[in-house]
């Protein structure tokens, strides 16, 4: 990779970081969720919530082609 390409990539990364910094202010101690003895960072709570959401969606959303496979199985 040439020096110019590396510099462009680095500039792009800086712009990306600046953009994210504008959306999410990270210049502070981490937010935490406290409940009795439970002490979790907000980031971890969000990840756990996303895992639960993905788990429920995986159970509920139809899988592409599944209905057709079941139909052809019944027909045969």
């Amino acid at each position: 990779m040439t020096l110019t390409a590396l510099a462009s990539l680095h500039l792009l990364a800086l712009k990306g970081a600046a953009l994210m910094g504008a959306i999410v202010n990270l210049n502070h101690p981490a937010h935490t969720v406290d409940w009795e003895f439970i002490h979790l960072s907000l980031a971890n709570v969000i990840v756990i919530g996303l895992m639960l959401l993905v788990f429920v969606l995986a159970l509920l959303l139809p899988f592409p082609g599944a209905a057709k496979r079941r139909e052809s199985e019944r027909a045969s």
């Binding site: 990779m1 590396l6 990539l9 680095h10 990364a13 990840v47 996303l50 895992m51 993905v54 788990f55 969606l57 995986a58 159970l59 959303l61 899988f63 082609g65 599944a66 496979r69 079941r70 199985e73 045969s76």
Partner: protein, 240 residues
């Protein structure tokens, strides 16, 4: 002239290993034509998603190992591969936990699949220190903070003398050699056991399985027998 006597059966260890291997895992189970129809569900994809993440982890980690800390801290391409390695680990744990939840709620240890469940659970437990040793191998203030915090937990359970989290050399060796080998071996055993026992069927289908003929293990014309450890194989008509 009398006919030459037939050769005695070979006692070669390679033949024995081959025969045991084929007996334990016939080729059509190791690399089947298709999976049962019930596998066509999103909840079944998280196992293979974990393996895909693990492959990205190993590939990006290998590149980081070859180039070293100065590269991953001070160059743009190094930052890129460092980020790929971090986020593939995050994704690995994310999909592995969803996989674990899915298998727990479908009681995936049913039908002689206890070893499948155990190897999966141990893989999860071994992956945790694999990630921890990675966090303390970053060579930055974050690594120092994590190491000095985590050493107290090691000391509190009496294993601080064996696992010194402030010793970069020891942690790095664990992270790039011993623990990855353990994870890959465990995942390999886990996948081979899944192939041997078949993917666990839904509860309602399991009621029908004992009455149904098991899938042929070696050849379509071979007499059907239950698998050695009592695992219920889905009938052929349920396979896609």
């Amino acid at each position: 002239m009398s006919a030459a006597p037939s050769a005695p059966p070979s006692k070669s260890w390679t033949v024995k290993v081959r025969e045991k291997g084929v007996e334990a895992l016939p080729p059509d189970r190791l690399l089947p034509d298709g999976q049962p129809t019930y596998v066509a569900s999103w909840i079944y994809i998280f196992g293979v998603a974990s393996i895909a993440s693990l492959i990205v982890i190993i590939l990006s980690g290998s590149i980081l190992t070859l180039k070293g800390p100065a590269w991953w801290h001070y160059t743009s391409v190094g930052h890129f591969f460092n980020s790929i390695h971090l986020w593939s680990v995050e994704l690995f744990f994310f999909v592995m936990v969803v996989h674990l939840w899915g298998k727990y709620w479908m009681a995936a240890w049913r039908g002689g699949r206890a070893r499948v469940w155990i190897t999966g659970a141990i893989t999860f437990l071994v992956a945790v220190p694999a990630a921890l040793t990675g966090y303390v191998s970053q060579q930055n203030f974050d690594a120092q903070w994590i190491a000095t915090q985590a050493k107290d937990s090691m000391n509190s359970v009496g294993i601080g003398a064996f696992f010194n989290l402030t010793n970069f050399g020891q942690m790095y060796s664990y992270h790039i050699l011993l623990l990855p080998i353990a994870v890959v071996l465990l995942v390999s055993a886990h996948v081979l056991l899944v192939r041997r026992n078949g993917v666990v069927p839904p509860f309602e289908l399991e009621q029908k399985l004992p009455a149904a003929a098991p899938a042929p293990a070696v050849a379509p014309d071979a007499p059907s027998e239950p698998s050695g450890d009592g695992a219920a194989q889905p009938p052929r008509e349920l396979q896609g």
